[in-house]
Symmetry: C2
Subunit: 428 residues, 2 copies
């Protein structure tokens, strides 16, 4: 029994999620947490706020022999929030009032009531409803107003969590520290993991390398390898139990040997974070055209970017390229706004206008219109440049639609800056 | 039988989706398409690439009496792509080679082979594997290299689609036009729908209005209303069968009456698209600080933006505000970089530097650091301005984390521009 994997199913409730109006952020998040704990997640089931459908999902998980079931959503105060009731029935436990929880929720609601005007009768009813828990279950203190639950249900345990991610996530550690859940998890072996990132190489090359590594005698079956194309980069996740560490190390070494030029992160660190480190003590200025501000937005996403980021001139019109970046209008006429020559003039302009010591420019054809045979949609010119002189220029044709081309342009620029500042070969 | 709703389940396969490494874009998309056709979607089940788990998900759907099952993923050429085989077993139909499909796939692969170097033996094997279809099923021509399938399975029909959204979506119309699927859909009543959008009002106000509308004698039970907070706006979706059209109309009229000031779209049109219309024949320049280029990125997301968008000066540093936008450094010292006065100077600078006839500025504290008691994190100053003189200024405190504040800043700016150009009251 102890060698069989511990298996879990996740049930996400919510009509808005089922109908695609909002994206489910809980299923994948809980799934990752469980994988880290060594639990094998078999299914994520999304159901509407229909009691029969939630009940049938729970029965399905039970029939499949899940050791752990995690639900999210349906714990609110309104009549269609039915998760606690249905899980109680599923576990064969009547709902009972938890007096202590009623008092805790009342205290939280008094806090809200001071700030908002509420219908008092409605508040009292909601309070009572949310304090009803399956007999013998373990309530988890609310992060918002809804308590979570750990409900033993025969051979399995159900963890009942609220729907809003900002309530679910802080509640998770409390759920897995509860005695019933700890007992289930004790039978699982936590997984170790590392993430390797590459840029500028097709996924098929990784598959080929893995085959070679295997042919060289490394038992790939002992580790779990997921290769995933992620916003233009390749992310390789390797998960393994402690005894398979030598295999995991051999896989990493094999990838490093074969892909030194394209491999930029051995520890999962993102290019954004690497670039932030490389920019420390410097001053960056941007000149963007087709990326339309996406590179600036990406760089300023990290807190503290103001320490090294001066700004970006998003020069969408040719006039703006001339007036704000000092690009010679003749050059635009003779070479075209999308040309290596204009890209160079733009990055020189950004260095000068921002008084920067590193700059990059992006000018390209994002489409859907504006392509020609010589310069098709997706043709983008980059020029990355240090005030002290070194530079890298590239002009690839980027595949995909308008969104893809714009986002990929910003990504290519991140990697060109990383290469320029880090001294690696440019992987393009 | 014809009054019972037609019900469907969706099975999404893919270890990367189950483990949260990539977000599922197929389940919600197919769910929306089915809802439009009047089909009630009961469950979306996400499973790993483990044959037993896919099979159990199919059996679950069958046990729940689904009329239609849609699968996505697992149609690729590799050994762990097992969907066709498992659906064949589920439907009790042996796999047979479809000669015509084999030829079609071969032709597609020859196209690839001209561009890439492939292992010929591997290609032949993949070709054969992908041309194996359940006997008596209907293959759907590949969009990439994988054919889809429509598989009659006893009382229900299984639609088997490839995983990449860019292959799945174009294949969908062919699937629903196939005879077996048409026969199922004939029993469903397509739903009518409209979407209303509001900005600058809490969700609880909509709930209150709906209660009032109901109290006024409108039978809300006859329509399906979903209210959803979506990136700072409220989206109200109303779905209804033809006979409930008078109720749906009464709901819309009731919302319009109560929320004229906050309601900006009666037909689902986005603020992005409305603003693009209002900007026709004009020239827009931006001055961004805390939004870091996000407003420019949002405006240039729409194709054709170059007709009215001159550019954005992302002036992150105080120096850049002075040198690139002409903001008086004294003003920054005396009032602070985040102040209505500096916001006004920035938008005047944008008008002038871009030779624009409409401009907006955003300067604020996105956090997590930099807040003070007087100017907390989330304090953002906006100044929207026409060259001919009219202007709107606002300085709200925007709630949320750094990402929320940055994105909401761009959204508020969109609505201020819409209001300035459209002449409505500013809903803030």
């Amino acid at each position: 029994m102890s060698v069989a994997p511990v298996r879990a199913g996740i049930v996400v409730t919510g009509t808005e999620v089922l109908t695609g109006r909002i994206a489910d952020r809980n299923g994948p998040w809980v799934s990752e947490r469980l994988a880290e704990l060594g639990v094998e997640v078999a299914h994520i089931v999304v159901v509407a706020d229909r009691p029969e459908d939630l009940e049938s999902a729970l029965r399905f998980m039970a029939a499949e022999g899940m050791d752990l079931i995690v639900t999210s959503g349906g714990l609110g105060p309104t009549a269609d929030d039915l998760t606690a009731e249905i899980v109680a029935r599923f576990a064969g436990r009547p709902l009972v009032l938890d007096g202590e929880m009623e008092e805790k929720i009342a205290a939280i609601l008094r806090g809200f009531a001071r700030r908002f005007r509420f219908d008092e009768e409605a508040v009292r009813a909601a309070n009572r409803k949310q304090a009803m828990i399956p007999e013998g279950s373990l309530p988890l203190d609310p992060v918002g107003t809804a308590p979570g639950l750990v409900v033993p249900a025969g051979e399995r345990v159900v963890i009942v969590l609220p729907g809003p991610p900002r309530e679910l996530r802080p509640m998770w550690p409390r759920a897995i520290e509860s005695r019933p859940v700890r007992e289930v998890l004790a039978r699982a072996t936590p997984l170790l993991a590392y993430t390797v990132r590459m840029f500028g190489i097709p996924e098929s090359e990784i598959a080929k390398s893995l085959r070679e590594i295997e042919a060289g005698g490394v038992e790939l079956g002992a580790v779990e390898i997921t290769t995933c194309l992620r916003k233009g980069e390749i992310e390789i996740d390797v998960r393994y139990r402690a005894e398979a560490a030598p295999v995991a190390d051999a896989v990493r070494a094999g990838l490093v040997d074969r892909h030194t030029r394209h491999l930029f992160s051995l520890d999962g660190e993102t290019v954004d974070s690497q670039l932030a480190g490389l920019l420390r003590g410097r001053r960056l200025g941007l000149a963007e055209s087709c990326s339309g501000g996406l590179l600036a937005a990406r760089i300023t996403k990290l807190p503290g970017a103001s320490a090294y980021f001066a700004g970006s001139i998003v020069a969408y019109s040719n006039d703006a390229k001339g007036e704000l970046l000092g690009v010679d209008p003749e050059l635009i006429v003779n070479r075209g706004a999308v040309s290596p020559e204009v890209a160079e003039a733009m990055s020189r302009g950004a260095l000068e206008r921002f008084g920067a010591d590193v700059a990059i420019s992006i000018t390209g054809i994002a489409g859907p219109d504006g392509g020609t045979e010589e310069k098709p949609v997706g043709y983008v010119c980059f020029d990355a440049r240090l005030a002290e002189g070194a530079s890298i220029a590239r002009d690839p044709v980027i595949p995909g639609n308008r969104d893809d081309i714009r986002e990929r342009s910003a990504l290519v620029a991140m990697h060109l800056l990383r290469t320029l500042l880090g001294g690696d070969d440019a992987p393009l």
